[in-house]
Symmetry: C2
């Protein structure tokens, strides 16, 4: 089969990664266009595109599919321009919000919105990777007017990049990501700025922070060039979810004021059940997950000694996390193992290497 032509408009991290992933399938020649000549040149150098087009028109000429991967705020205009510049080709985008771009798209038979959930903090084509979408959810927002053949084609394309296509209405998409991504990002910022804004009798809360604050603010301060636009673009849904968040906080405050231990116990129990449901998406049987916690010294060979020993015994490691290794204090290693029997063998192996191990179920009450 002759290679089809893919046009990529915007050759930053995502655009160039799509190019690399598409080229690996052997089914596409890729033309790229970017208003930033450097970005275009790097994408060409990295082999993410075959042709560095001199204009949008040149990029989409003869293309069967055009993918717009410019910043969120520019998407409505870029998608409209891409539809206008092309004839007959299917147009999609990769923006983190879907309502505005979908509402503005002119040729509704040919446009299908898209959003790969790959959460990389890097940017620019230099960091592009053909494996970025491996296993990632890729939302697609077809319209009533979308031609089914085009939707099937885009669905197959996305799957060929390693992603898992999920069809959803554009409005529902924005409500979903408000809850699963935009509220968490906003709360991480609020939490960190609150803890960072005070000194308590000379003590810096940030200096006394435990692991929970560090984990919960991992995404705080994420690239403002990207996130201001995302927050503004999804402002209504985000604000609605934040208001609901405040309402739920008020309920907790009421329970605290009334010393209502029963409420707090039910509330924690509900969270434990939701945590199990969340992990069930990632792990087949979260109730069987055991967490092994080991304090390890900062010595050469420590990590490879542990990974080799567990690997040799064919113990299936689900997660493996070494945090905050310092020369003086070493670090904390958490290993997630599925099943009590493999967990027991892992503990025995680690103890045989001289470590003391704290084992506990990864999900409380499971």
């Amino acid at each position: 089969m002759a290679a089809r032509r893919l046009a990529i408009v915007g050759t930053g991290l995502i655009g160039a990664s799509v190019g690399l992933a598409a080229k690996r399938t052997g089914e596409w020649t890729v033309a790229g266009f970017d208003a930033d000549g450097d970005s275009l040149a790097v994408a060409r150098e990295r082999g993410a595109i075959d042709v560095a087009a001199g204009s949008l028109e040149q990029a989409v000429a003869g293309a069967g599919l055009a993918l717009v991967a410019t910043p969120v705020a520019t998407l409505p205009a870029q998608v409209t321009a891409t539809l206008a510049a092309s004839e007959g080709c299917t147009v999609t985008d990769v923006g983190s919000t879907k309502r505005a771009v979908t509402a503005s798209a002119g040729d509704r038979e040919r446009f299908i919105g898209g959003h790969p959930v790959c959460g990389s903090e890097a940017h620019g084509p230099r960091h592009a990777s053909g494996e970025l979408f491996e296993g990632a959810t890729w939302f697609l927002t077809p319209l009533a007017e979308t031609e089914p053949e085009r939707y099937r084609g885009l669905h197959a394309f996305v799957a060929s990049l390693g992603a898992v296509p999920v069809a959803v209405d554009a409005h529902a998409h924005d409500r979903l990501v408000a809850l699963t991504s935009h509220v968490p990002h906003a709360l991480a910022n609020v939490l960190l700025n609150q803890a960072g804004s005070v000194r308590v009798e000379g003590h810096e809360p940030l200096a006394a922070a435990g692991g929970s604050l560090r984990d919960m603010t991992r995404v705080a301060g994420a690239n403002p060039r990207i996130w201001v636009d995302i927050f503004l673009d999804n402002a209504d849904e985000l604000a609605r979810a934040l208001a609901e968040h405040r309402r739920r906080i008020e309920e907790v405050e009421r329970a605290l004021a009334e010393r209502d231990g029963g409420y707090l116990a039910r509330w924690i129990g509900e969270a434990a059940e939701n945590r199990r449901r969340l992990l069930a998406e990632a792990y087949p049987d979260p109730g069987s997950l055991m967490r092994l916690r080991v304090h390890v010294p900062d010595r050469p060979g420590v990590l490879s000694g542990i990974t080799q020993a567990l690997g040799a015994e064919k113990i299936n490691i689900e997660d493996f996390e070494l945090r905050h290794m310092t020369p003086e204090r070493g670090g904390t290693l958490d290993v997630l193992v599925a099943g009590e029997e493999p967990a027991r063998r892992a503990v025995a192996l680690l103890e045989a290497q001289g470590y003391s191990v704290i084992a506990s179920p990864a999900v409380e009450g499971a």
Copy 2:
């Protein structure tokens, strides 16, 4: 020097771990008491205590130091009983809140509150570890009446267990931990229950959750037997911090309603700066930290191949995190390396092993 006598009242995870850590110093014989005979027997079996005492009186007889490690809600009564049962010995506790227990302590010359911040999710003496306190902050809350000699002794004891003693006023302690631990725990529950409470046009938000929601809710649903008491005991400070949290959320809602991009940019920038300050406590130079993200297949030897190669090149790994490994899709590995030059070498090594690597600064804008 003859071994001194340490009394441990409550031989659960923390009490038994203190026993193990104290025994390693070779300076103590340890008597333990627990109303739960099983817990006491296991602590004895594990070697966390030398003597399983039949009563509180028997445990503290002749002790130079008594450590009360019973559940938070029982601490005021237990500390009072321990002070009454003992003569002359210094009494401390390990509760996560300090105001209530400090206010209720009768003999204020002999009592000094304590709180090791070691964040283990396990419980029971079976999971005890003599290394639990290695590098952990251990708050001490001496009073105006505290005899300096006793404070110096307790300070040295805590340091001998591997912990870092930090003196703080009991009230300030509770305000600090509200911000750094109790608010994060409460928000994790709220966030997860909010996302878990709705379906958006048939879609489960929890099924569509990205890494940010998973990271931010790691502590959600934590052991209600422990956390209800902690929340109730610190109810006033927690409620105050939650009200301030709501006020800050309202500010964000206002900025969203007014499409105030400038506010959002400053707010994200402040969070990035606070994130740098938070990481500066853990890492000497957070600005130099590079995150390498690698997609790895689920094959035996993958982890050990990577850890060995990096170890052989003496590349100092600060964090090393493999998440969500599945047989079909493999997993995502994040490696944190300090310094651009070592990061470049690590990228080259990994690429030579056939991986594609996405490298980016660990702290945005650093």
